[in-house]
Amino acid sequence: MADENKWKPPGEEEEEEEELDETAYKSAKDAVLFVIEVSESMLTAPPPVDAKKQERDTPTSAALKCAYALMQQRIISNPNDMMGVLLYGTEQSKFQEEEQARGTLAYPHCYLLTDLDIPAAEDVKALRSLVEDEEESKKLLVPSKDRVSMANVLFCANQIFTTKAPNFNSRRLFIVTDHDDPHEKDKALKSSAAVRAKDLYDLGVIIELFPISRPNHEFDRSKFYDDIIYNARPMDPEAPAPISGTTAPTSTSDGISLLHSLLSSINSKAVARRALFSSVPFEIGPGFKISVKGYIIFKRQEPKRSCYVWLEGEKPQIAAGVTTQMADDTARTVEKVEIKKAYKFGGEQITFTPEEVSVLRHFGDPGIRIIGFKPQSMLPVWANLKQSTFIYPSEDDYVGSTRVFSALQQKLLKDKKIAVAWFVARKNASPVVAAIIPGAEKLDENGAQITPPGMWLCPLPFADDIRQNPETTLIRAPDTLIDSMRVVVQQLQLPKAVYDPHKYPNPALQWHYRILQAMALEEDLPEKPEDKTIPKYKQIDKRAGSYIIDWGHELHRRYEEWRKENESSAVLGKRPTPGGKDEIAVRGAKKTKTGEGDGTPEIDDAQMKKAFEKQSVGKMTIPQLRTWLQSKGMPVSGKKAQLVERVEGHFEQK
């Protein structure tokens, strides 16, 4: 299944397939069930702290907003993962559709708002209407008069996971509540909740608690929840040690809004933490090993590919593609074991047995072996192939790994050094040479972790991967010109002079899913995308505009000087090429310039527009058309007719 290979680096399909390990019967998918308490206190907005503008969400509505945000986010980032929302403490009760609920018990005051599944458009809509439509929420969010048995809630969750997410590698229960002792008086109920919690543990369900402190009442986990929550992740040896003080109690007293702080703690759990590789030996010196795990922290998120939809049924359905392999000669279906691998050499097929191939590919067992250390300055910017893998120590195979890893990380950070390592990620994976870069922990203003502390494995290019620089002539800018550019650069530093990815959502990805959501919910399509990656033109003009114009004049002067000096001797260097126009550095200067050197008079917008109105665009030369198109950022390839069409298209759209 494609999902199982989600975490594998691209281009290594074949090897991967053959080495699914013993736990392969679990598909690597994640199911999250939100369990949100509905009670008087959960429906009471916290008192305003200082400013009036602060949002006044009740804890329940903040939790629902988080669930809604997470649902939308997961549709984009984890399109195969499941999610559900269960309310408890409600007057009304509702469980799964009858047909599925055969033989199941009733769960009073549990309201299954969204059944556990990959979210559908209707689920998004239902959740949104509860979040946005007050009428709707008033109807449903009525606290029951009876106390709800937590054992019952937990067993209800158990049934949802058992029936809807069998075989899931990761099953998580997110409990949002402000009630730290639901059964303070009833010891029997408390015990049976603990028993049901053990069932969930045995089923492999992890409980994540998002406690909310009430005004004047700090949430105390030890009263009830410490009997419910287990430390490590059951059935999953990959589980990392829990972070001490897992979720800070969400309080409203520190000025951050309840919603904001709940969102941030839920976001940190949004993706199930999955290791890319676990307990790989990390050999620091010959024979001296510790164990580490690898995680993918950076990964390009792409929109899901288009699929085929079958429209003949009651409602549109996605058609699942099934691939069968067959022999070209007789079209008979072939089994995997029959397939041989052959390399083309000349006109011949050179074959190897699978055993031979795996011997050829074998360059030692999986592991990271340090060869030595270098200063960070020996790692040039260009020496990069793909995203780096995060590594963090694990005590699984070697006790003491953490302290050794920590000593190494701190030493490398302090001296700005890197390690160079030989790295084999999995059995028979191609070995790579990697730089090991130390990474310090980074926190935001509120003390929440943005970047984890650890080290990063950055695969380095081999000599084979390094390309030659393209040939070009060197004309070094005179110092005065560099000086005027320096002023420009100084004017336009990003905030804190740092690149923060969290400020730049991927505009193409966001647009893709916004449109799909509108189509799925049959709403009007949004008109203009929000694109935070577009430079702030106005600010640039305001802050640096005059300096850029100065630079432009300086460039003009310096270039004229250079040209006079070099022109006579530079006949060789200056070849007129089709489409090569002289550079226009500043638009302000453009008007006074005509293209020189290649004899192509340049066409400005007004001229082109005139030509368009007179329908004489076709009379322009190809270089003229290309130059103009290029200045508009449009493609310059193709035959003349296509270029003309593009120009005309440009004006027609206006």
Binding site: V124, Y230, S244, V322, V381, V433, Q490, K632
Partner: protein
């Protein structure tokens, strides 16, 4: 490249060797005849011991040299025991004839700009992989802008070109083949791995002639299915023609007509737009996401070159990078890139690598490494997970000792970086390359070991290790790392250790402690595990396993189509894993054998072959000796068991 085969017959070779010069003449003729005036790389390699008589007629030699130069051929002379001062080889007591011949050949080679070398060097170089030179092809041509030239007069634009700086070179890829059906019986079944010549009496279809190995390629056929409750198995094939294009939004299918497919695409204009600048020291190197590219000004545009140069120098002097938004083609999705200045003696450019967007970062949190924070929120600086001073010191000394920055040797023997990237070769690429070439010529011989250079950098250099031996010993002592022995914990012991955070004994809560747990179909997995916890001896284990197996069978039997298969698979997985841990593989093996029999005999609600396929796919077959020592099942039996027979 034209490779003109030399006659393989040693006699002919000998004859040619009588006069190396004549050999060159013949080679020139052969190449000229084969390549005509077409564009070929022409290369002649002369291998000689230089002992033959060389007919050194100066005019003739000049003529040859002229011809070689005219036709742009390359002459390589490799001589056995030839002197080569550059390489550092000199044959003592060389005889006079050989010395003369060497001089003649050397003069010829020098005259036509060829390569002259000694055999020793040639043999040595066989182990150095050849690097392929790729002509730079631009990946973007357009403008670098700062500000919006469409609206502001103050905007800056420079015509630029972008080329790959680094690109992963992949090894040869193998294609998939199967034995042709008409050849797959008889003696061909014994052939394993080599090129097989076509069968002499094979009448020879055209395909067989095209491929002499008796192999035929594998094709992928794709069919499409939709869920249909009325169809047998709950699935129905649909024809590709009845399908429309669309996208998934969660589990909802969103259909988009062919003409509207572009609405989900963000409209963009090609260009490289600077967003702002950041400091070198604030950029985390591990954020780079892609291969890198080189950005230079439009090659023929001197003014652009000067303009870009000013940006490159300004960035360099301010120790800054530019952050930019790159769209390589109209309507392509934008990417964020880091632009870094690069200044060498005779080359200036910007380098770019892609940066992550918000969605590309996963926020996994990990505990700090320089302190331990307890549940109560206290910070501790001394802990078994933190290095003490001795360990930190030992690590520091070791890292300093193992420094590679000056351990290498430069061309002049000076100190240089050890293991620079230019010296590392892709092991897999060259290994496959070497093996394929070898096999092409030596059909039945095993492939020789990999070139030394491919594994040279897989270990720290011995000399350095020796120097750091003491530091390493100290480090090992200070670290006091202990290996966890495999499988020392029995299931019982690990299970008993499991408690919630409070340490509450949940099993005790179960009350009167019944000897036997009844496993219900609603909650089978937890109840099965709990039954094993209290099971007394093998009988208890067997009973629990049988109960679970019975539930699985009922689930399969009542399953509508494949709806219950995932649950059954999970339960089988738990069953298998737990029994393996309890060292009772026999119980599982018996149960899975029974299940298979029932499945294939259609006793569990009709055709359940799909379920068996799930068992196979999820590796839930017999537990073999390899996985559990007490198992009586060998690998072969386990393999055979998985077949649907």
């Amino acid at each position: 490249m034209a490779t003109v085969p030399m006659p393989a017959n040693p006699k002919v070779e000998l004859m040619l060797m009588d006069s190396a010069i004549s050999a060159i003449v013949i080679a020139i003729q052969m190449i000229t005849k084969h390549c005509k005036k077409l564009k070929w790389k022409r290369r002649i390699v002369l291998v000689t011991d230089g002992r033959g008589e060389i007919d050194a007629d100066p005019d003739g030699v000049a003529e040859i040299s002229k011809k070689i130069k005219e036709d742009e051929m390359e002459l390589v002379v490799v001589g056995v025991d030839f002197d080569d001062l550059d390489y550092g080889f000199k044959e003592e007591d060389k005889d006079y004839d050989k010395a003369t011949n060497e001089t003649t050949l050397k003069a010829l080679v020098e005259d036509c700009d060829g390569i002259f070398g000694t055999m020793q060097q040639a043999i040595e170089e066989l182990g150095t992989p050849r690097l392929k030179i790729t002509r730079p092809v631009h990946s973007f041509k357009g403008q670098l802008t700062l500000g919006n030239p469409g609206t502001y007069d103050s905007a800056l634009c420079i015509d630029i070109e972008r080329y790959p700086r680094v690109m992963i070179r992949k090894p040869l890829t193998a294609s998939q083949f199967v034995q042709r059906t008409d050849l797959s019986n008889g003696h061909h079944s014994t052939q394993s791995s080599n090129t097989v010549m076509p069968d002499a009496d094979d009448p020879g279809s055209s395909a067989a002639q095209a491929d002499p190995n008796g192999l035929t390629s594998v094709k992928n056929a794709r069919t499409y299915q939709v869920t249909d409750e009325d169809a047998p198995g709950g699935k129905r094939d649909v024809s590709r023609d009845d399908l429309a294009k669309g996208y998934e939004f969660g589990r909802t299918a969103v259909h988009i007509s062919e003409s509207d497919l572009n609405v989900v695409k963000l409209e963009t204009q090609a260009g490289l737009e600077i967003i702002g600048f950041v400091n070198w020291s604030n950029y985390d190197r591990y954020m780079s996401m892609s291969v890198s590219c080189v950005i230079i000004a439009q090659k023929t545009n001197s003014k652009a070159i000067m303009a870009l140069s000013s940006l490159i120098h300004a960035l360099f002097e301010l120790e800054s990078y530019a952050i930019a938004r790159l769209v390589t083609k109209t309507n392509k999705e934008p990417v964020m890139v880091l632009l870094a200045p690069s200044i060498e003696v005779d080359y200036e450019c910007l380098l770019d690598v892609q940066l992550p967007f918000t969605e590309d970062v996963r926020s996994y949190r990990f505990p700090p490494l320089d302190k331990v924070i307890t549940v109560s929120g206290k910070e501790i600086k001394e802990h078994r997970n933190l290095p003490d001073d001795a360990l930190s010191k030992a690590m520091s000394d070791y890292v300093d000792r193992m420094d590679l920055s000056t351990f290498g040797k430069g061309d002049e023997g000076e100190e240089a970086e050890y293991m620079p990237m230019a010296d590392t070769y892709s092991p897999i690429l060259h290994r496959i390359d070497q093996a394929v070439r070898w096999r092409a010529v030596h059909a039945n011989e095993p492939v020789p070991p990999a070139y030394e250079i491919l594994t040279r950098y897989s270990k720290p250099p011995e000399e350095l290790v020796a120097k750091a031996q003491r530091q390493l010993e100290k480090l090992v002592a200070a670290a006091d790392v202990k290996k966890v022995p495999p499988k020392t914990q029995s299931r019982k012991r690990t299970r008993n250790a499991i408690t919630p955070l409070s340490g509450l004994d949940v099993t005790a809560l179960l009350g009167s402690n019944p000897k036997k747990v009844k496993i219900t179909p609603e909650n089978p997995i937890p109840e099965f595990k709990q039954a094993l916890d209290i099971a007394d001896g093998v009988d208890g284990i067997r009973d629990a396993a049988q109960q679970l197996a019975a539930i699985i069978k009922t689930q399969i039997k009542d399953s509508f189509g494949d709806i219950a298969y995932p649950r059954a698979v999970e339960e089988l997985g738990v069953l298998r894993e737990e029994l393996m841990d309890l060292e009772e593989p026999g119980i599982y093996n018996d149960l899975i054998k029974q299940l298979k029999k029932k499945l294939l005999a259609e006793e569990l609600g009709g055709d359940r072959r799909e379920m068996w396929w799930e068992v196979r796919k999820n590796r839930l077959g017999l537990i073999e000796k390899k996985s559990s020592e007490v198992s009586t099942v060998d690998e072969e039996e386990a393999k055979a068991f998985l077949l649907s027979k």
